[in-house]
Symmetry: D2
Subunit: 345 residues, 4 copies
């Protein structure tokens, strides 16, 4: 932390700040400058916040410099983490494509789409059994029945399952039925849920909140890891801005930013990120080009009959083209498409 004094701060004002910092058990380093003095703070203050000196007379501002994430950081673990989702590696040299419907509706619908994902070259299947919907009157998902459908589809097509949990009860069920627990953007700072996810056995796909900074996303990952679950995958899905040509603004620069600070893998979800079917393929290519470890896209064979988010789902045939293009881009970066699980059939 750095305290910047006002240009006209008097020596006794500087002293008062220094004394207060020392009283908190911290070290104060006075840095006299041409026009003003700064005071660097080092050490650990436990539960007290030295930011309080911002209200001391003569203080211009207080600047935070250290970060409180540890386990998610490359400083804690320099090498890339590879997370196994039901046998498919996420992170490392491979690139994955996760596809499936926004919501699981029926066994038939789910099987048809899963067949398209498998044939199109996807390695993982996504589909919502629990849907956090903005309106209480919208379709809220099939619940455990949806999870059962997903489990059947995994057996039939050898596609490990990624699906969202929205509270403690659904998380316990998802942990049991699926291969990867998704925490959605709206729950990124639902810390009680993150702690429960930290005690689950399955890996966690953590989506960035709609107005989360990089640091907040990392700290939410830290919540999960600090409870003992080290298999965390981040996912950029667009942030909220004034821009109105897409539903959200996909912030692809967060991918290299995370790669620089953290050892954990990161995917991009261009379907929720843009909300527009015609932008899913171009943004998927861009996601791989910027360095993401994969993409997560919505696919539906009859988008006009989808129970949720139809307008952003792509058709299975478009999905197959997406996988081809994404694979070609990956090669430019010396990466390859991750192989899908072998099937016994």
């Amino acid at each position: 932390m750095l305290v910047v004094m006002e240009a006209g701060a008097r020596p006794e004002q500087i002293d008062a700040v220094v004394r207060h910092i020392e009283k908190m058990g911290l070290k104060a380093h006075t840095i006299p400058g041409a026009s003003r003095t700064a005071i660097g703070i080092t050490g650990s203050s436990g539960t007290k916040d030295p930011g309080i000196v911002e209200n001391f007379p003569g203080v211009k501002e207080v600047i935070q410099v250290s970060h409180s994430y540890k386990l998610v950081s490359r400083e804690a673990k320099p090498d890339d983490t590879i997370v196994s989702v039901g046998g498919v590696d996420v992170g490392g040299k491979g690139v994955v494509v996760v596809g499936g419907p926004c919501a699981v509706e029926t066994l038939d619908q789910t099987r048809t789409i899963a067949e398209g994902i498998r044939r199109g070259g996807g390695q993982l299947f996504r589909g919502g059994a629990y849907k956090p919907r903005t309106s209480p009157y919208s379709f809220q998902g099939l619940g455990e029945k949806g999870l059962e459908i997903l489990a059947k589809v995994r057996e039939e097509f050898d596609l490990p399952i990624v699906t969202e949990a929205i509270d403690e009860e659904s998380l316990r069920l998802v942990d049991q039925y699926a291969d990867c627990i998704q925490i959605g953007a709206r729950n990124m700072q639902n810390y009680s849920l993150l702690k429960v996810a930290g005690r689950a056995r399955k890996p966690v796909l953590l989506k960035r909140g709609m107005s989360a900074t990089l640091e907040e996303l990392l700290l939410s990952g830290e919540y999960i890891m600090s409870e003992g679950n080290y298999n965390v995958i981040f996912c950029e899905r667009g942030v909220r801005t004034f821009a109105d040509h897409t539903r959200n603004t996909v912030d692809l620069s967060v991918v290299p930013a995370i790669k620089r600070i953290s050892h954990l893998p990161i995917l991009v979800d261009p379907s929720h990120g843009t909300g527009k079917r015609n932008k899913v393929v171009p943004m998927s290519r861009a996601a791989i080009a910027v360095g993401a470890d994969g993409v997560l896209v919505e696919v539906h064979h009859k988008p006009e009959e989808a129970l949720s988010d139809g307008p952003q789902a792509i058709l299975p045939e478009t999905f197959a083209q997406l996988v081809t293009q994404v694979g070609a881009i990956a090669e430019v970066l010396d990466r390859t498409l991750q192989p899908a699980l072998a099937t016994a059939r």
Copy 2:
């Protein structure tokens, strides 16, 4: 919903859209224009989303026009709702001031501050027993022990209690110990929690999420009301923007916007909204001037020793001045400070 066709859309493209809308059981109203055609859609589509026609050839864009909130709306209930929080009315002609520490730390600390709130003219007491913190390594609150302290303080000072619940378990306890259940900004779209709050007996103070639109805030209120709890109070606490002179940007215009659409009361929290002690009093005045039903502010007698958010807490003596100024502003709007509960002592 309104479908806008491209300028060069051919008649058969327009027909295809109209037929699809009608196949969904809706009515299509074609509006021919000078350079392009628009198609109005009316009726209810159940769970299907007519927005899918955005992907039809010849369609330029699809515009949402109807809203899905009902119970929170003035169309459902024209008169202002007055919510009683432990006997103190929120909404209506009175204006309330809610004060207290960010976190309950000890009985002594809480009593000292409550005494300041009572003496300074506040009607309600706030203080966190469960703290949603960005970092897993920050102080997370005293839990049930904190609720016990709050209950004692209520008895002693006749100040009804507003305190935050962060999950199902804490909500059940808050419902039991306190007078009003706060749902924080980070949980505004934690729909599972909103449903639980909707089945609680106590009123709910629902804070606006950091990037929530007006409609999303209203729909989160709708989640609570649709479960049967009609005592909802909204609270503006700043939204996230690029502006960096305050922690968040307090959006006071949301107050008259909510008053126009909804019958529910709304408070403003300038402490979290600005994150700066020196902006709490001016923004409290502005909140009442714009038409809010009250303010919620952080008060601490020794902010430099506070376990959380010290830099934004005001001193008890500043709180007393705040109440005086807020009361004077209320009178300009033909309102008055709500009286505090009578004390037996």
Copy 3:
């Protein structure tokens, strides 16, 4: 500036940064910490940017701490500046209300509205002769003919004139005809125009850009002052955010933030700030309550016939109520409505 090293930075990496800083003629202050080292930089680097060390090995980040504004700052001039606009003081103890149409259309229209402003208690008149419009096909203003109308209206009603300049040529004419030169939000960072305004004789009303930080606004004021024109008035008119219930989000907290750092006066424009007629009066009250030196509002006697921005203009009778309410709020802050100029009539 502060350089934060990575936790595992090696001593020779720290040395390299220190040596580079010193080579630029600056002083480096090494601050060893428990887990990482920080390096404070003091002195003046002239035209070179020490931020370059961010790319050095072992460097985590570089944090800017000093500001480059000088003349606008209270450190340069502790007392409030009072700017005289054609004899009416802006700043100090008085509060002003500036009213008028978005665009000057005809002499009759302008006279009618000015009469309403004068009768309603306004002290200054606003009206656009040069209109920066988003579309090239929208009405662009009457130009010099509009300035002539404004000058006539000033003579008749003793209302000094505030009007916008959009380029060098229009600024020269506005400087000649009017009492205060408005620089609009879209030109806040048109530095060539700011320099010309800095050489004009009349005061300048500088509107905050739609995505300008506090520091950028202050530096744009610095551009004007550094050319010799010390009469600068800031104006908050809403910033661009995701919120969609108003056209822009009025950031009232910028008012106390500017008052703390700068000696210059600041007004608020709730008409452009919200874009909604029904929010102009409440936000005007809030602006004065937060500490602004006045408000700038759009008034039209026939808003449904206005050539621009009709939906946000208030009627003359609403304007009169606004002045009364604003005056009552000012008294709560120990301020008063500034008297209008005496009329000879």
Copy 4:
């Protein structure tokens, strides 16, 4: 335009709106719905704004549906426009890489960097002679002397020149010396300057403003085209959001959005967009992958001595790698690197 009535709107309120619309010379199309009525408006209202009916009793809201851009639109010209910048095509099947320093400092510096750009495979050279700087005390560029240096460098290396104009005077000179006139983000809505650019002979590179919507960017292009200059190139350079890990948030989804609506080419500037050297190459790859017609990057052989924006400039050797990677990505999209001009030497 669509007028949505409140649920309880009375027939006479609907009539009043319809009558007013018709009085403005427009056509009103009443669309009765299950719970509320909507009114579609068609026809041209000239300079009057039918949005005024938002203030009529019984009206819930007014929704804008038509756009005012024409010449920039694919509806006006279905085929892609290819703009020739000094003989190098921008748009079409080729992809261009524009490189050079932020600011022209000396002939030597400019020659050295230009040699690196030419050798590295760039086709166009960029460098600022006029610099719009946030602070009046920062280096403001060499002016005409800088343009002379750029002209010499073009002759020697056969690299056409893109350089920024900041006002009418500099634009006249840039039009004379350079091959493409850049209008910077801060001037995107400086309409007087856009009109002058519309009367220039050289193509215009128009950067998106920091908080400009897609529609505003298109309309600024329309300003230039409506004055007769049809050679407009758009450029995405990041928008302002709350995200703080990069200087701005690059909105790559605007590229396919523009391609869908407009026939004009679009480039991406990842240097200003991210402000971080280590993100320039990944974001350049992503820009081409999403479908941009090229990238614009800052290159400096001694970034630590650059007079402006050193921390975001890449080295000439990194530039050469960037060109190679960008070319490989282009091939995935069936595009190729545009050839550089042949040199006589």
